[in-house]
Point group: C2
Chain length 139, copies 2
């Protein structure tokens, strides 16, 4: 199913694993300023969403919906932000970010908005666990 | 179908109409620095993608794919950027942007990256026409 898939080392370094969904690996951005998931379709060689098959695209956006709902369940969220940029890391990945009015980048985008503030490891592990549970709860 | 739908006046002021698709109105951002479409689902009261029905969500992402293909057909595009933010204008809208290496915001995001540079009206009208044709061509 995911022959040849390797997570880009920059994505790997910036994030922590949360859950493997049907298509995507869901990972938490290690930046305590924002509750921020990154979804990476577990297929080799993807750059654009259009590189997925139509049924995989449907699955991708369904998993983005699930990620948004999980963030809303465990974090304060005034607005979800979705983004697929890939200007630096070309491996296809979708950002799903819970934004709070007045957060460190508000109302601008999180991308390119200063340096990440790594989580305290205990707080991060608790958040990962809560997100994992929320992602796997019935929908 | 779109009872009560009114385009947010800030989106209206920043963009020019290109085409009405099945769900979305496709509009060109009036910023000559980037080939940039904004898709606005023609439904009243939407804020998050999750506010759409499941079938409307499928249609939204299909139209985002169409918009990306249209931009790739008429503009130089090294990478598509997709975004749904809505931190300032809450009416649900999805950005589809053709990015070029070395463009005015590269490799950062286009959102919040300086002031728009309005198109020359003739060039803008030509681009709108080419995008309209590309959006309506068989896929």
């Amino acid at each position: 199913m995911n022959a040849g898939f390797l997570l880009d080392p920059r994505l790997s370094a910036d994030t922590r694993p949360v859950a493997r969904l049907d298509l995507c690996e869901a990972r938490l951005m290690d930046d305590a300023r924002f509750a921020w998931l990154v979804l990476v379709p577990q297929r080799a060689g993807l750059v654009e969403v259009a590189d997925l098959t139509p049924s995989e695209r449907t699955l991708l956006w369904h998993e983005v919906d699930r990620a948004g709902a999980a963030l809303q369940a465990v974090a304060t969220c005034d607005k979800l932000n979705l983004g697929a940029l890939g200007n630096v890391v070309r491996q296809l990945h979708v950002h799903v970010v819970a934004r709070r009015e007045g957060d460190a980048a508000w109302p601008g985008p999180v991308w390119g908005s200063g340096a990440a503030v790594p989580y305290d490891p205990t707080a991060r592990d608790m958040l990962v666990e809560r997100l994992r549970e929320a992602l796997q709860s019935p929908r």
